[in-house]
Amino acid sequence: MKLKAKTGDLILAILSVIIGAVILILVKVQDLPMIKRDIMGPGFFPTICGIAIIVCGVLLFLETLTQSKKAAADENLKAEQEAKILNPRELKNLLFFLLLGVFVLVAYKFLGMLLCLFISVVVYLIFQGKEKWWKALIIGVGMTIFLYLIFVVFLKVPVPKGPLGF
C-alpha cells in the first residue's frame, strides 16, 4: 500500500471532519442537550469537541495545501510530503498483532487467557520471528510460567482459566 505523506494528511483532515460531524450527530441522536434544567448539560463538552475536531480537520487541510505550495520551492519539504508513510513490513506486524489480539479476545473463554497468550507468542515467533519451532516453544513456555507466577500467584489476579487448569 503506497501512501504519500501528503495524501495521508489530506485523508486525515477529511476523516476528522467526518468524525467531528458524527460526534455532533450522535449528540443529537442520543438526546444530550447543551443546557439541561438550567445548568450545563451532558451535551456541552461533546459538542465543543465535535466542532473543534471539524475545525482541526479544516485547518489541517489548509495546512497541508500550504505546505504543498511551499514544497514547490523547498526540496526538503517536498521529500517529506512525498515520503511513503506506510511500510509493508510494519503492516505485516500490524496484521499479526491484530489477528492474534482478536484471537485472544475470542478464544480466552475456551482456552483460558494464558494458553491464548502462549499460542500467540509462539505463532508470532515462528512466523514473524522466523525462529525454529523448538526455540519458540521454549520462549513461550518460559514466558507463560513467568506471567503465571507474577499475575496469578503473586498478584492473585483471577485470570480466565482454560481446560488445562490455568
Binding site: L32, Y108, S120, V121, G129
Partner: protein
C-alpha cells in the same frame, strides 16, 4: 529543636534491621509491579497488604512506603526501555527517555530517572516534614473552580506537545477530550456514547489507552533487528551519573519539578500524572535547549521523574493531616494504615507522633534503598535490550495484554488497549502526537466535572467561577503560557518592521 527531636524519634525506629528488610522488600516489589504495564502503586499496595498482617506497624509502614516509591520508579523503566509507560505518571518519561535509549544511552536515562526520582523524593520529604502541619490548609483551599483553573493550566501544556503541526496536536487533544466524556453523566445520570455497553458506563480509563497508543503502536513498528546497542561502558557507575555539564543543566529542572510536583500532589485528585505533565512543560519552556526536548535529553527525563515522586509525597500531606487521600494510591494506603490501627487525620501528628515520624523516616529509607537498587540493578534492566527485537515484540505484546486484563479483571480493557494500539500505529504514521490525546483524556474528565460543579456552586455565574482568587491567578498564568510566546513574537516582528521602516 522540636523538629530534629521528632526526626530522631523517627529514625530510632529504623534501627531495627527487620524494618530495613521490609523496606527493601517493598521497594523491590514496588519496582517490579510498577514496571509491569498498566500496574501502578495502588495495585502494589493493595496486593501486598495481606503481608502486613502481623507485622509491627513500623515494618508494615516501611514496606508500604517502599512499594509506593518503588512503583513510581518502576513505571519509568519500561517507559524508557520499550516506550510503554508502566503507569500514567511515567508517560512523560517516554518522550525523552525512549529516544535516549534508542540513541544507546539507556543507562544514562535510567540513571537520571532514578536520581531525579530520589532527589525529588528526598527534597519533598524535607518539605513534608517541615511544612505538613502548616500547609494542610492549602489542600482544602482548592474547590471545583480552582481545580478547573488548574486543569486549564494543564491543558495549555498540550500546546507544547504539538510538535510541527498544531492542527494535528489539537486534533489529538480534542479526540482525547471526547473520549474522556464517554460514560454515564455525573450530574444527570444520562448515558453518553455508551451504546448500551455496560463496560463503558464508567468511561474509558486512560491507562489501557496509553498502553495501546504507546506500547502496542511501538511494537508494531519494531521489526528490524535493530537491537539498541548499549555501550558496555555506558553502564559503569561514572557514566550512569550525569557529568558536570548535565548536572548543571538538570538540577534547576529537578528543583522546579520537585516543588511543582509537591504542590500539585497535595491537591486531592490531582496527583502525580498531572504533576509530571506540568513539570515537563515547565522544563521545556524554561530550558535553553527547548528544541531538543523530545529527541532525547536528560532534562526531559529528570523533570517529570522528580515531579512524580514529589507528588507522591505531596499526596501524603492531605492524607495524613486531614484524612483526605490525595490520590488513588494514598487512598489504599490510608485503608492500610487504618487496618494497622492508625487513623490519619487532623490529630495524626499529635496522637501518633512516633508512627508519623517513623513514616517520614521510612520515606528517607525508601529513597536510599531506591538509589541503591535502581543504580545497582541497572545492568540487569538494560540486558533486556539485548533480546532480539521480534522476541521482544512478542513478549511485550503478551505482557501488555495481560497487564490490561489485570487492571480491572476485564477482557474489555484488553480490547480497548488493542483498539488504541491499532489507532496509535496510524497516528504515528501520520505524525499525530499521542501525548496530547492521553493528556486530554486524563484532564478532560476532571475539567468537565469541576467546571460543572463550579457552575452549580456559583449558580451558573461563569464570571464568578473565573474570579475566585486562586482560580483567577492560575488562569492568568495559563493565558500567559498559552499566548505569551505568540504575542511576544508578534511584538518582536512589529518592532523589527518598525526598525526596518
Amino acid at each position: 529543636m522540636n523538629l530534629l527531636q521528632n526526626l530522631g524519634l523517627g529514625f530510632s525506629i529504623l534501627a531495627d534491621p527487620m524494618v530495613i528488610l521490609y523496606s527493601l522488600i517493598g521497594v523491590v516489589c514496588g519496582v517490579i509491579i510498577g514496571a509491569l504495564p498498566g500496574l501502578g502503586p495502588s495495585v502494589g499496595i493493595a496486593v501486598l497488604l495481606p503481608l502486613c498482617y502481623g507485622l509491627s506497624p513500623a515494618c508494615a509502614l516501611c514496606m508500604l512506603c517502599g512499594i509506593y516509591y518503588g512503583a513510581m520508579y518502576g513505571g519509568s523503566i519500561t517507559a524508557i526501555l520499550i516506550n510503554t509507560p508502566g503507569d500514567s505518571a511515567a508517560i512523560m518519561t517516554t518522550l525523552d527517555g525512549y529516544p535516549l535509549a534508542r540513541k544507546g544511552q539507556a543507562g544514562k536515562a535510567l540513571g537520571m530517572a532514578c536520581l531525579a526520582s530520589v532527589i525529588g523524593g528526598t527534597i519533598s520529604v524535607v518539605l513534608f516534614m517541615t511544612l505538613a502541619p502548616i500547609i494542610s490548609n492549602f489542600a482544602t483551599s482548592f474547590g471545583p473552580s480552582e481545580y478547573f483553573a488548574l486543569m486549564v493550566l494543564g491543558l495549555t501544556s498540550i500546546a507544547g506537545m504539538t510538535g510541527k503541526s498544531p492542527a494535528k496536536g489539537f486534533l489529538a487533544a480534542f479526540l482525547g477530550l471526547f473520549v474522556a466524556g464517554i460514560g454515564i453523566d455525573l450530574v444527570f445520570g444520562t448515558p453518553k456514547f455508551v451504546f448500551g455497553n455496560v463496560n463503558l458506563y464508567s468511561g474509558i480509563d486512560f491507562v489501557p489507552v496509553a498502553m495501546g497508543l504507546f506500547g502496542i503502536a511501538e511494537i508494531i513498528c519494531n521489526f528490524e533487528n535493530n537491537n539498541i546497542k548499549v555501550e558496555k561502558d555506558s553502564l559503569k557507575l561514572k557514566k550512569l551519573l550525569p557529568n558536570k555539564e548535565e548536572w548543571k543543566r538538570t538540577l534547576p529542572h529537578i528543583g522546579r519539578g520537585t516543588i511543582l510536583g509537591f504542590i500539585v500532589g497535595m491537591l486531592p485528585g490531582a496527583g502525580a500524572t498531572i504533576a509530571s505533565f506540568l513539570s515537563y512543560d515547565m522544563a521545556k519552556r524554561t530550558s535553553k535547549h527547548k528544541e531538543e526536548f523530545g529527541t532525547g535529553v536528560v532534562e526531559g527525563v529528570a523533570a517529570p521523574e522528580s515531579a512524580n515522586n514529589a507528588a507522591s509525597m505531596g499526596a501524603m500531606v492531605p492524607m495524613l493531616t486531614l484524612g483526605v487521600p490525595g490520590s488513588g494510591a494514598t487512598a489504599i494506603m490510608m485503608g492500610a494504615l487504618m487496618m494497622l490501627g492508625i487513623s490519619p487525620g487532623p490529630s495524626f501528628f499529635l496522637k501518633n507522633a512516633e508512627v508519623a515520624w517513623g513514616l517520614v523516616a521510612s520515606m528517607y529509607l525508601g529513597n536510599v534503598i531506591l538509589v541503591l537498587i535502581g543504580l545497582g540493578a541497572l545492568g540487569l534492566f538494560v540486558k533486556i535490550l539485548n533480546v532480539k527485537t521480534t522476541t521482544m515484540n512478542a513478549l511485550i505484546f503478551a505482557f501488555i495484554l495481560m497487564g490490561a486484563f489485570a487492571l480491572e479483571n476485564s477482557m474489555f480493557t484488553v480490547g480497548v488497549t488493542l483498539f488504541f494500539g491499532i489507532i496509535g500505529y496510524f497516528l504515528k504514521k501520520l505524525k499525530v502526537p499521542a501525548a496530547p490525546m492521553v493528556l486530554a483524556l486524563v484532564l478532560g474528565a476532571l475539567t468537565e466535572t469541576n467546571l460543572r460543579q463550579a457552575l452549580i456552586i456559583d449558580n451558573n455565574n461563569f464570571f464568578k467561577v473565573l474570579t475566585h482568587p486562586i482560580s483567577a491567578v492560575i488562569l492568568v498564568i495559563a493565558l500567559f503560557l498559552a499566548f505569551g510566546t505568540p504575542i511576544k513574537n508578534a511584538f518582536a516582528k512589529l518592532r523589527a518592521k518598525k526598525k526596518a521602516a
